[in-house]
Symmetry: C2
Subunit: 164 residues, 2 copies
Amino acid sequence: MSAAGPQPPGRAAGRAPEQADTELNLCPLDDFVGFALRVAQDASFRAFAKTTDRADLKPGWFAAMMVIHNNPGLTQVDLSRSIARDKSSVTPLIQGLERRGLVERRPSRTDRRRMTLRLTAAGEAALQPLLAHAMEHDRKLDGIVGDQKAAFIALLKKVADEIA
Amino acid sequence: MSAAGPQPPGRAAGRAPEQADTELNLCPLDDFVGFALRVAQDASFRAFAKTTDRADLKPGWFAAMMVIHNNPGLTQVDLSRSIARDKSSVTPLIQGLERRGLVERRPSRTDRRRMTLRLTAAGEAALQPLLAHAMEHDRKLDGIVGDQKAAFIALLKKVADEIA
DNA sequence: TATTGTTATACTCTATAACTATA
DNA sequence: TATAGTTATAGAGTATAACAATA
């Protein structure tokens, strides 16, 4: 959450008789960027996850696989930094991907502490439908944001860069 | 997540020697609205939570208290709908708030299955610093989005409404 | 039959701390 | 001393299913 996170009042229904029969009122939060951000992200995530949810392909894996795909040979710590998670969170993630033959770990030849990561052929193959799904999902988002897409993304990136 | 979610490559550092010494490359995701949304929300959430994190004031409570504040007398199911969580997730949430004397549960007089919720005086008092903190956080966000705030929020709301 | 709220239960994601092996 | 990765562990947060009470 950013300003924490109730959902859009649009879904509110079946109010108690004790309460006025209007929609849920989120007023003071309505003009909060952080709140709108949270609600939009939550909705987008759920819409995406709903269809990705193929038992063996956890949605959280997509991000990691994408980073590895684009940065073959990176280490686990590199990955942990790029997805903003602790390295101890990366270990089970990579183990799951390795167990399924999607990621290969090779010891670094120059630093024996390090393991380098790359997708296997199976990993690359498994990434394709995920990427296709993400692109389809994003086409829907494109349809929603329309011709303001570039400015919208620019603002989102600005927020990510500067709020920290 | 929407397009799932690595963080901005800006933090990437300490690359393995096996890999070119450039920043992590997230290319194919860079133009994804869903991805940018996730990264921005994650950054905003962390920045917010970092300072809200006062032992007894869990960040997740803010949303619920805000909804109750704005809709006194609502039921738990109403609340669960408005924050898009299952009613079974609301039970422990409300119990925590009630145990601390922040929320009061009253049996509905017209439907004996229902409990109506309202903030206690202590709850209203506890909400103030949270709200103040959220407003301060949002002032930072305002500074980042600048004069595009209205359009930005409008787009975020549009996404939330239409992606479902 | 349907709804409200609770409970039991389990799963995911994440982090902290302590450890090892290297550097 | 510092870093890479693992393990043990714990804590949020959430959901599903079954249940009792009530509608």
